[in-house]
């Protein structure tokens, strides 16, 4: 009954001070776009977009889903799929250890959340890549989860949205990762045949095998402002051609100009944009 009155002296040093520290640290910070000092709360209220210059800060997969689904609520699918480390791969760490460290830290089993819910009242499936999980890289788990989401979209006649943020195929699963590009693209062929709309949203950064498969296969390919989008990473290109890349190269606006994006849409407008597209294509 009186559990809250138990003495707490031996538990922590000074929680009040720790909290104060976090608060003052996190309250203000500098915008990567315009270098102005921003108030974190103002940024949060603007969906992590700088109110001064429009710079889009990265957001994690769960935050993205919250912005898109009605009432920020969704059902998660296939959350327990995990990689088996088929190559027994070792880099600076063992891949197994890298995976379990990530799985504890985030906490998720791999670099993608697959979810279902409603968007302005319409049932939709949304997959969001998590950049923080080994660079949003695509291995067996991402391949399987997206393929299942596509199959679920076909069975339930629900449109599909995939929000990408990734460095590409996951090196640690070798050619098995590579083949996920085929697996997902082939499933998207079936979605296409089923005449169900798929909107691909490309966010900063989307490169490699992710761009060269599902991220470029939307009925609509939508970029977030300023997102880096490409096949080869800028560093690889610079090394190949041995010159500096032009300003704005491989950014959303560059792709829009070259005909590879249907639109560049600001984050606060994205939900409405998707909703309207589905209406125009389906109703």
């Amino acid at each position: 009954m009186a559990w809250f009155t138990r003495p707490t002296t031996n538990i922590k040093r000074d929680p009040a001070e720790a909290e104060r520290h976090v608060k003052t640290e996190g309250l203000w910070f500098k915008c990567d776009g315009c270098r102005q000092i921003l108030w974190r709360k103002a940024l949060e209220e603007n969906q992590q977009v700088c109110p001064h210059c429009g710079f889009h800060f990265k957001i994690d997969a769960a935050a993205r889903l919250k912005l898109l689904f009605d009432d920020g609520a969704w059902e998660e699918f296939d959350r327990d799929l995990a990689s088996t480390d088929p190559l027994d791969f070792v880099d600076s760490k063992r891949y197994k250890d890298r995976l379990s460290a990530m799985q504890r830290a985030l906490p998720m089993k791999d670099a993608l959340i697959s979810a279902g819910g409603t968007l302005n009242g319409r049932p939709v499936n949304i997959c969001v890549l998590e950049l923080k999980f080994i660079g949003g890289s695509m291995g067996s788990v991402m391949g399987e989860k997206i393929t299942r989401a596509i199959e679920r979209s076909i069975t339930r006649r629900a449109p599909l949205v995939i929000v990408s943020a990734s460095g590409g195929a996951r090196m640690q699963e070798g050619a098995i990762s590579l083949m996920q590009m085929v697996k997902i693209s082939a499933a998207l062929m079936r979605l296409d045949e089923a005449r169900l709309p798929y909107i691909s949203v490309l966010t900063d950064p989307t490169t490699g095998g992710v761009t060269a498969s599902f991220a470029m296969l939307g009925d609509l390919n939508i970029g977030e402002p300023g997102a880096l989008i490409g096949f080869a990473g800028p560093r690889v290109i610079e090394q190949t051609i041995r010159q500096k890349l032009p300003e704005g190269f491989q950014r959303s606006e560059f792709l829009l100009n070259h005909g590879f994006l249907d639109a560049v849409v600001k984050r606060p407008d994205l939900k409405q944009y998707i909703s309207q597209s589905f209406d125009l294509l389906l109703n």
Binding site: S92, A186, E193, M216, I229
Partner: protein, 306 residues
């Protein structure tokens, strides 16, 4: 030719000579070293061997009456991909290959076998024509990777590859893909969506080049041989993981020692494979191809913990 391009050729020749000397060391059969124990790295060196037969070397020996067609009807022609129609044992087929050059001049022309978007779009145009006229499609994969350059990005390298993957899944004709040398990542895979996928014995197929992988994991591109072993990119490994259907034999020390024999092995495999696929109708071909790639992936589903 301008001084500038002569200069570029001279520089490339120097670089190529350096690469060749690296390739030749060890591949020429000196005393056994630890490196030779690494079969993956040996395969990388053979797959890149300067004398290894390229797509056109096989096309000329395996097929008859090859008629090359050019261009993507939108931007231009990409010499890093060759394709057209020909006969395989009397049967008309579409054949498309990623093409490397033999000497420096040819390599500049072929862009070292690194295709650009117009190459993939040309390949897709040929494949669509094959579907229209009900011809099987045979693709030969051999590229270090899709070209990572400004122009390729401007013209949608990623989009071109992605569309190729999706459309190959849709075609109701038999598709056979053969990795003949370097199966360099998405750039090779773009033509690799086959009902049957084969690798020549000394070819490799990888998500990333061993050099780039080494640069990332060891911060040292010279540790490529270690990276090759870690990536498990040789034909037996791919067969083990169920990512390819069969390994095609090579003569003696490798395909470069006997082009005719290498081509004969490939031809026999293609003919028997095509005979097997010919019993399937269009929808069965699409479904068989789909199911084959659908199964690829290694994961487990943990029991949900409450």
């Amino acid at each position: 030719m301008s001084d500038e391009s002569n200069e570029r050729i001279a520089a490339l020749e120097k670089e190529l000579a350096k690469l060749r000397s690296q390739v030749d060391t060890g591949a020429a059969g000196e005393e056994p070293t630890e490196v030779q124990a690494n079969s993956a790295w040996l395969a990388v060196r053979l797959a890149r061997h300067p004398k290894r037969p390229h797509a056109l070397d096989y096309i000329e020996r395996v097929f008859t009456g090859f008629q090359e067609i050019h261009g993507d009807r939108a931007f231009g022609d990409d010499p890093a991909i060759v394709g057209g129609f020909a006969r395989l044992d009397g049967r008309a087929v579409a054949v498309i290959g990623q093409q490397k050059g033999r000497d420096t001049k040819q390599n500049v022309f072929r862009n070292f076998g690194m295709p650009k978007p117009e190459g993939y779009r040309k390949a897709l145009r040929i494949m669509r024509m094959a579907v229209k006229f009900n011809r099987p499609i045979i693709t030969l994969l051999d590229t270090p990777g899709a070209y990572p350059g400004i122009d390729a990005e401007e013209r949608g390298q990623a989009e071109a590859i992605a569309i190729s993957l999706r459309e190959m899944a849709r075609f109701g004709v038999p598709i056979i893909a053969v990795v003949i040398g370097e199966g360099g990542s998405g750039g090779a895979l773009a033509l690799g969506v086959g009902n049957q996928v084969f690798m020549l014995k000394n070819s490799v197929y990888s998500v990333i080049s061993p050099e780039s992988c080494a640069a990332i994991i060891y911060r040292d591109a010279s540790k490529a041989e270690q990276a090759a072993a870690a990536l498990k990119l040789d034909a037996p490994a791919l067969l083990h993981f169920g990512l390819i259907d069969r390994i095609i034999e090579e003569p003696g020390e490798g395909a470069h020692t006997d082009y005719d024999q290498a081509a004969a092995y490939m031809k026999a495999t293609l003919i028997s494979s095509l005979a097997g696929l010919s019993s399937l109708g269009p929808q069965q071909l699409i479904d068989q191809r789909y199911e084959k790639f659908r199964r690829m992936g290694n994961f487990f589903e943990e029991a949900a913990t409450v």
